[in-house]
Subunit: 563 residues, 2 copies
Amino acid sequence: MARNWKEIAAEKKQQRDAIVPKEWLLTNLPPPETLNVIDFPDKSGLLTERDIEITNSEVGLLLEKLAKGTWTAVEATNAFSKRAIVAHQLVNCLTEVFIDRALARATELDDHLKKTGKVVGPLHGLPISLKDQISIKGLESTMGYVSWIGQYAEKNSVLVDILEAAGAVLYVKTNIPQTLMWPETFNHIFGRTSNPYNRSLTSGGSSGGEGALIALRGSPLGVGSDIGGSIRIPAAFNSLYGLRPSYGRVPYAGCVNSLEGLASILSVLGPLCRSIDGIKSFIKAVVGQEPWLKDPMAVRKPWSENEYSLVGHGQGQNLCFAILWDDGVTKPHPPIIRVLGETQQALLAAGHKVIDWIPLKHEEIYRTGGKIWTAGAAEDFRVVAAISGEPVIGTMEVVSESTDTAPNDTPVFRPMPGGLSAYELWQEQKRRQGLREEYLDHWNATKDLTGTGRPVDAIISPCAPFVAPPHGKNSNASYTMVWNVLDYTALVVPVGFVNPTQDGKRAVEEFFNEQDRANYDLYDPETFKDAPISIQVVGRTLEEEAVIRLGEIVDQALKAQNK
Amino acid sequence: MARNWKEIAAEKKQQRDAIVPKEWLLTNLPPPETLNVIDFPDKSGLLTERDIEITNSEVGLLLEKLAKGTWTAVEATNAFSKRAIVAHQLVNCLTEVFIDRALARATELDDHLKKTGKVVGPLHGLPISLKDQISIKGLESTMGYVSWIGQYAEKNSVLVDILEAAGAVLYVKTNIPQTLMWPETFNHIFGRTSNPYNRSLTSGGSSGGEGALIALRGSPLGVGSDIGGSIRIPAAFNSLYGLRPSYGRVPYAGCVNSLEGLASILSVLGPLCRSIDGIKSFIKAVVGQEPWLKDPMAVRKPWSENEYSLVGHGQGQNLCFAILWDDGVTKPHPPIIRVLGETQQALLAAGHKVIDWIPLKHEEIYRTGGKIWTAGAAEDFRVVAAISGEPVIGTMEVVSESTDTAPNDTPVFRPMPGGLSAYELWQEQKRRQGLREEYLDHWNATKDLTGTGRPVDAIISPCAPFVAPPHGKNSNASYTMVWNVLDYTALVVPVGFVNPTQDGKRAVEEFFNEQDRANYDLYDPETFKDAPISIQVVGRTLEEEAVIRLGEIVDQALKAQNK
């Protein structure tokens, strides 16, 4: 007789745990009541001084030292692997662990460098963590579905081939929510990933394992995916840089996914990292390998140094940014309004112009995007879950650690019952096409407002109407999703942390709607203590080079301000 | 009481006819029995010697003379307008005629050149014809639907703005089939467009008006659209060059269309022309205006002189082409096999390599593409036709000139009854995605067969299993559609004409299937007398620059061979 899905899930989890080197299991872990564990790894006693030095280095420095052989690939792999296991014991962020495979590859890289004096590629020796859905030959990509346990990938996804050819060392895969269509991270196999800055808060999702792991410096750089905010929400909630590229810029072929065959609002892969130089190194390395020759959906567009130099943006002098203070639907919490203001001041101080961004039909964009996602989602989830008999998860609340369904909890991004016909889906896609055209015209029309002779160079937007909320409370992905529906390039830049003194609750008398009132009610400075605060720098479609450079400019302005 | 759709259609047709200058109506037209009318315009007596010189010039020479002011824009507009009206009287190819508007614009262009000594843009003074669906402010784009009569465009489509900014003169729009989803050209308003090389044959479709008009030199260059072959079939059937670019290379925003909201197999706009230099001029001019700043679906990819120089193809030396002799489903007729052989010889003589292209799963590609198109097509057609009460056309046979439906005629590209659910559509799109990946791998694997160190540089493919067939007999668009499903760039190159002596029927003993046998039975050299024969040069996705250059190489090799 077929085994129960709970038994299968438990066995898989046990297998994952068993693979962790015993000597890396800690007995001095902080108790569950300790919410902020971000500084624990350095003090854990497991890491050597050199491990600590390596794992606290940003990507730019790591690549430099690895290329010189100052640090070997084996040393880096070992250091990040150890630290990843520490992180995992704090926030439960890993799904697949394959350190042996990684060390073997690192050894090859070290040999190559020693023999030839040359790096294998631009990411030589850099450990990179991957969201669970990114397939590696011989490993599972369960994606949190019990149904997919035991399916070992027959080949690498295209991105894995490209990263390995660039010299990267892959060593762990990270946790996600079942179906991927949640902005938090919990599933029946691996359980929940918490936020290392405050473990009572969510790590975000769907790339929540990445967010938590990289924040704890268990990985210098990770790859997530984003269909409605799944890179940017974990980046924002964990004080990371995170890039959502446009459709097709980073090859997706060979990954497993939800909503497969959805062809209008595409999930994209992109990097999360603690420094913006890592974002740039990743995109340059990937695009430099001509992914369009390996993935039919990858866009034939080489890295453009011209676009990075902001040729279309006055060479980066006297830029004009526009701030989206709110979307007219849900007003962001005080910490977010505070950092938007700080960003405004920083950019003005750096000699740039700043105007307000007037949101155009955001509510209609959310509704249309939601209908497109959910046109066939319920059936998609049902078909996959039915294989094992596991329930489709209906809430991210901490009901119990084997949460089933909670039918009365239906945030906007959950599947609508029934679904649409293909013709009805086409009508939503047509509406969405019209919205994209209107939004482009809207952007172009800012040419008359900027005083630069150009339309606005980039939008500065909240990442969500809140910083990382308590588990189960992340019911609004609108501020990220809007840029997916429009296919705009969006980069998360971390700005600060919630400070209950600075970020007190303020009286508000008018609300846009009930949702806005509920969001207001959610805020309490103590609840969100220590949570990271971030912004998005948003550019046009396929404008990755310019958005990275514009992000650097915003980041430097903020850092200069805070000196 | 609402008027009958036939009355409304008749009135619209009458309006179109009334706009034609009376002095351009000919009384010496050849009788209907005269099938080949391609040489008539020069002998019509309406055109002056200068008109004849201008209209017989190719785009490169036209642009040169127009830029120098040797020929004025008004002269060129007048010459092509006259000739377009002659062509129309021969094959019924026009839908909208707006010569006054064109002459006003041409006068502006002439004034500008006279005053400044400079051209307005790279297409200065060039008359360009447009497929009916391409909207121009103030004009109708009925697209052959009686339902859409009386809808005057509120603004230009993006391409019209771009062409006018480049200096082009727009003067006529051209005929299409109702729904656009036919490879022939007939609708209830404007009737049928015939092939000027043999009026008993179809001009092809859906850009059939363009094909016939340009063949008769009533336009030097026209814009068509292509979702399954709609640029390439009329190009091939009328001895023209015709480029199907990849999705998003040429801006589509602002055009009317069928199957709106279909987001996976996209219709694209592209040029038809009697010379390959016109194809290049058009694409360079359009891309040069950064269409991505005006159309959200346009790909941010400037014209690449590097790619045109075949940097990725050994600088164009010692290329390897692969010939698709047949798709394993329907064997092409003798004239097509003949010109494939001639192409092979010409390329070998020019010093290139030629191997066979092994088709991969073409039947599955056709089936999947067909299911995606038709997932919501029946409903789409029904909803539009219901507005006027006109029937959805079910055959292109010459039943009568007000052909209604013929339910027993159901070629593959007609809507399937019922349609699909969004989830079912996603499954087809997922299958299609897999086929794209397999085909890319298949292409890459030719690296081991070419002897050049590279995979095959381009595929040489038939355009259809037949040359232009008799009206109503074009039941197979597979040889073009396959490249739409895969989103490969494909350029039609004309090679010759059917010669009953050379292209006799040959005995065949085995057939792939019943469809193949029916196609064999269709062939009779006399039926297809004088019909043009063409090939496709097929490159990878978004490889327009390279495909144009590869097309030039093939074209030059063929011309050298035929000297």
